[in-house]
């Protein structure tokens, strides 16, 4: 173990600490019924005050770290979702909020729906619910942040039992 190695370890720790403590979100609705979007906005209001965790909603994908997606992916919104994901600077994370984002939900099999979020972009955390409560969204976010902190593999397999929930 030489000095450069130790120095790099310290730098990595500082980087991870900063990353965990300042997740800036961008929110995209790729075809949801707006139920989940209302819950996400409720999470950011003074009652739940996500700013105490460092969460800030950003307008520009260039400023954001976490892409919060709701709803199934419709044919029209696939390109937009892909483009927003590409516009974000690395390291970037994706959170799928709600049953539709996980499995297509009530829109499964519709003629204009491609499917769930991770058929288009890789997803790091899933928050089930129709719609999930603000507490559930904060919990999912904290799980994502814990995974970043401990260095656990974040791109987890989608829980199989969630696929059956329609």
């Amino acid at each position: 173990m030489n000095i450069t190695q130790e120095w790099n370890d310290i730098l990595d720790k500082v980087k991870t600490w900063a990353r965990v403590n300042s997740p800036w979100l961008i929110h995209y609705n790729s075809g949801s019924c707006n139920g989940c979007d209302i819950e996400i906005l409720a999470t950011l209001t003074p009652r739940y005050d996500a700013e105490r965790l460092g969460v800030k909603l950003q307008g520009s994908p260039r400023h954001a770290d976490v892409l919060v997606c709701t709803g199934p992916v419709t044919m029209q919104s696939r390109d937009r979702l892909q483009r927003i994901y590409d516009q974000m600077p690395d390291p970037k994370f994706v959170v799928a909020v709600g049953s539709c984002a996980i499995s297509g939900g009530a829109f499964q099999g519709c003629y204009n729906v491609i499917g769930h979020i991770d058929e288009v972009i890789p997803v790091d955390a899933y928050i089930p619910g129709c719609p999930p409560r603000p507490e559930a969204i904060i919990d999912g976010l904290v799980k994502l942040l814990t995974a970043i902190k401990t260095g656990a593999p974040i791109q987890t397999e989608k829980p199989e039992e969630l696929l059956d929930v329609v």
């Binding site: 500082v14 980087k15 600490w17 900063a18 990353r19 403590n21 300042s22 003074p46 005050d49 700013e51 105490r52 460092g54 950003q58 307008g59 520009s60 260039r62 400023h63 770290d65 516009q87 600077p89 690395d90 390291p91």
Partner: protein, 306 residues
């Protein structure tokens, strides 16, 4: 020995690291006071530091169609301007590191470099939101700059000098300028809010209309440096106004008490008011701000002649 002194004043105090760190802390205090007045808990004390480190370690995307040299150098010019201005103000209640006759003008124009850089950065990107944001930022610059400068020159005329250290020496021994020149104080305070693009003057970066204004295309390092520059400008502006209008800053304790008090007033104004349209901002400054300050000047001159 002198060389060591110069390096310390450029890199650590009162330039460089001290201003950056103090700026981040004042930014946190500002956010915390706003959060408390909205009945929230608000961010933790290290929040701006974590934000800055995270942005500095993120990937920086240079978009197509920009001039890459300008894209990289504009944030640095903005931060350098703010840090240079810190050398001429009585930071933390101590004497300015450097001082010469007329340094007030230099300081005020060093502070405008930030807005100018943001405007150029927005115009550099080939993107509509950046362009709208930069137009608004530059329009706002022309709106508040003249009244702000005139408001800071009020105490200078009373003191009979355009050198910051001499003005501060004058204000420390006389009645608070805030009481003698109330109009100038109000205009200077609101001018600082316009300079920092705080609500209600945040139409250049209105996230509900134009995404993030001129800085929409900036990610990572550039965005972080612009943020640091803004924090530095917050603390320098507060120092200037307390030194001129609130009876000077004779020692670090008074400096802390007075600047934090002024910051609380700024935060209260921010949480009270909603965003003005850009034409309302310009109209307000030129119809009322500039005229009121000129009236203030007239009164000062008449009082001094009599």
């Amino acid at each position: 020995m002198e060389a060591i002194g110069n390096i310390v004043s450029l890199l650590f105090f009162p330039g460089g690291l001290f201003v950056i760190f103090a700026g981040l802390m004042y930014e946190w205090l500002d956010h915390k006071i706003i959060a408390r007045s909205q009945n929230r808990i608000g961010p933790r004390w290290f929040q701006p530091i974590a934000d800055a480190i995270k942005l500095l370690t993120k990937e920086e995307i240079v978009p197509d169609g920009v001039n890459p040299v300008l894209f990289a150098i504009l944030p640095l010019i903005a931060l350098a301007g703010a840090l240079t201005a810190a050398l001429y103000v009585p930071m933390a209640g101590l004497k300015p590191a450097y001082s010469f006759a007329g340094d007030l003008i230099v300081t005020v124009y060093m502070l405008s470099l930030l807005t100018l850089s943001i405007g150029l950065a927005g115009a550099n990107a080939k993107e509509r939101f950046s362009l709208v944001g930069s137009t608004r930022a530059l329009t706002q610059l022309f709106a508040y700059e003249a009244p702000f400068l005139l408001a800071l020159l009020g105490p200078a005329i009373a003191a009979g000098s355009w050198q910051i250290s001499e003005i501060v020496a004058y204000t420390e021994t006389h009645t608070w300028m805030m009481i003698l020149q109330p109009i100038g104080f109000v205009v200077a305070l609101i001018g600082l809010m316009g300079k920092l693009e705080l609500p209600p003057f945040d139409s250049p970066e209105a996230e509900t209309e134009i995404v993030a204004g001129a800085l929409t295309e900036y990610s990572g390092r550039g965005l972080a440096i612009f943020h640091l520059g803004k924090g530095a400008e917050l603390i320098i502006g507060l120092t200037l106004i307390t030194a001129f209008y609130m009876g000077g800053v004779s020692n670090p304790v008074w400096f802390l008490v007075k600047t934090v008090g002024l910051l609380a007033v700024l935060a209260a104004l921010q949480s009270l008011m909603t965003r003005l349209r850009i034409d309302q901002t310009v109209g307000m400054w030129w119809r009322y701000g500039a005229l009121l300050v000129l009236l203030q000047w007239l009164i000062i001159v008449v009082v001094q002649l009599v």
